[in-house]
């Protein structure tokens, strides 16, 4: 991807000013607007599956932002985990709970104005806070901070313990999800194709 990025703009921060953004900054901003727009549509649309698909756009755009920030490995993991698995699971969930085509009556709750107020308030506060704090900070993107080799090195030289703890977490989530989605007494269901000896009725609940 490096050449594609190089085509987008010079890597050296030429001039540090709001007024003359570098090519990279322009790309970042454009993708950022796309991400934000997709996110807004995703939380406001009343078509359930569309919301999930807009979320795909937002998360994919974020992967591009990670690439622009030189965190290459994180970007691919984002695509692999979010776009390849999380969204698919979400769509799965939506479809299994009968997502209708068209607008869904149960998309939004009654407290949208309150939610809007809270959202705007938090946006205003946080933006002020962040802009104030980082008004004179620039990122130097010259070093490759997130190639796979670097990632492997820091993960296994500094973050072994959380990494191991995560494996426990993942296993627990997997087992938990499996056991919750198994139907009650689902251990001995008749397999398709085999003769049933007796009508299997779930025992009284």
């Amino acid at each position: 991807m490096s050449t594609l990025l190089a085509a987008a703009g010079p890597l050296e921060p030429a001039a540090r000013s709001y007024l003359s953004p570098t090519g990279q900054e322009v790309v970042f901003l454009l993708v950022g607007v796309l991400v934000l727009g997709a996110a807004v549509v995703s939380v406001t649309t009343r078509r359930l599956v569309h919301a999930a698909l807009w979320l795909v756009v937002a998360l994919g755009g974020l992967a591009v932002e990670f690439l622009l920030l030189t965190a290459e490995f994180v970007a691919w993991v984002q695509v692999l985990v979010y776009l390849g698995s999380v969204i698919v699971l979400v769509l799965f969930g939506l479809m299994l709970t009968r997502a209708p085509i068209g607008r869904s009556p149960d998309a939004d709750s009654g407290n949208r104005p309150a939610a809007l107020a809270v959202g705007l308030a938090s946006a205003a506060t946080l933006v002020t806070l962040v802009v104030d704090a980082f008004r004179s900070s620039w990122i130097d993107l010259s070093g490759a901070a997130g190639t796979t080799r670097v990632t492997g090195e820091y993960l296994f030289s500094h973050w072994v313990l959380p990494f191991e703890a995560l494996s426990v977490l993942l296993l627990a989530a997997l087992i938990g999800a499996i056991v919750l989605s198994r139907t009650q007494g689902g251990r001995a269901r008749p397999r398709a194709g085999k003769l049933r000896t007796a009508p299997t009725k779930p025992k009284e609940r």
């Binding site: 991807m1 594609l4 490995f73 691919w76 390849g84 969204i87 769509l91 479809m95």
Partner: protein
């Protein structure tokens, strides 16, 4: 690398993307026919019906593009593109020959490939849901379940090669290849290839899209060009899978005269594998849905884990 170079590589990839799947498709017609004691298409184009797929394409373009009344139009129309594009992106990073004969070098090649290929499942889900047809939805759900299940063994098998080579870059892996990797990574190759086959929903893993079971699953409502795009994505998938398998497990461009004919070796290995894909379609009966799932979780994943352990042990023993 300047802009022209980049452009040239992109165009080259696009050409490969458009030509190779057609070759595989034509080969499928003829190979299947001969295996079944038939001749297959013989008329289009004159010599042994070589232009049959072109004719098919013309026919598909002429057909009416129907969007069902109850469907979600935008998603319905977008789905084929979502299914097809990931393969194009993946083709961009598969190295064909030594010394940079590759569309684009990506540092985390394997990760990129598996990540992007995983996105393709969205196309099937979108198609199935947007069709407003219960068979389509059912097929889409089955497809998604199947793809998610087989993603894991594929990832593990690829991880085994990456561990052996000590890199995740695709050219880097081919560079590090030795002939004895073939027996060493044999199990991994089997797992990778089989899981890939299942991801493509090729027979014998085609339960979610079986026309005689659930009338083509997610693609029931598609006609004309959009249906052709789904078909194209299947054949592009075969090319990508076979190319990846040959790069990861069969040494890509390695062979006699590899400095000059490296690209030919990659193509030969790819098409040999593609032949196996076609062969399997003719040979094996379809797996039932529960057998499919069980195969992934109780056969492929343990095998992949075993391969990973084996790779680790030998790797430690070597160093």
């Amino acid at each position: 690398m300047n802009l022209l170079d980049t452009l040239l590589r992109c165009v080259g990839t696009l050409v490969a993307f458009l030509v190779l799947p057609l070759v595989v498709g034509q080969a499928e017609h003829k190979v299947m026919a001969h295996m079944q004691g038939r001749l297959g298409p013989m008329y289009a184009g004159g010599f042994h019906g070589w232009a049959q797929l072109v004719a098919d394409g013309v026919k598909f373009v002429q057909k009416e593009n129907i969007v069902p009344a109850g469907a979600d139009r935008k998603v319905f129309q977008l789905a084929p593109a979502v299914a097809l594009l990931p393969y194009l992106l993946v083709l961009l990073v598969i190295p064909v020959g030594p010394d940079g004969m590759v569309g684009q070098v990506v540092d985390a090649g394997i990760f990129f490939v598996l990540a992007v290929m995983g996105v393709g499942v969205l196309g099937a889900l979108m198609a199935g849901w947007a069709s407003a047809n219960k068979f389509s939805l059912l097929g889409a759900l089955r497809t998604a379940a199947q793809l998610m299940s087989y993603e894991l063994p594929m990832l593990l098998a690829a991880a085994s090669v990456a561990m052996a080579a000590g890199t995740v870059s695709l050219p880097g892996i081919v560079d590090a290849f030795h002939w004895w990797w073939v027996p060493w990574q044999l199990i991994g190759a089997f797992v990778f290839f089989t899981a890939g086959l299942a991801e493509l929903q090729r027979p014998p893993f085609d339960m979610p899209v079986a026309d005689s079971e659930i009338i083509f699953g997610a693609y029931t409502e598609y006609t004309g060009l959009r249906f052709a795009l789904f078909l194209l994505s299947e054949y592009a998938g075969i090319v990508v899978l076979c190319g990846l398998t040959s790069v990861l497990f069969l040494g890509g461009w390695h062979g006699p005269l590899e400095d000059d004919l490296g690209w030919l070796w990659t193509l030969v290995k790819t098409f040999a594998l593609a032949f196996v894909v076609l062969w399997l379609r003719v040979t094996y009966p379809r797996l039932r849905e529960d057998q499919l799932m069980r195969f992934a979780w109780t056969v492929l994943i343990p095998l992949a884990l075993a391969q990973l352990a084996l790779t680790g042990i030998i790797k430690v023993a070597i160093s």
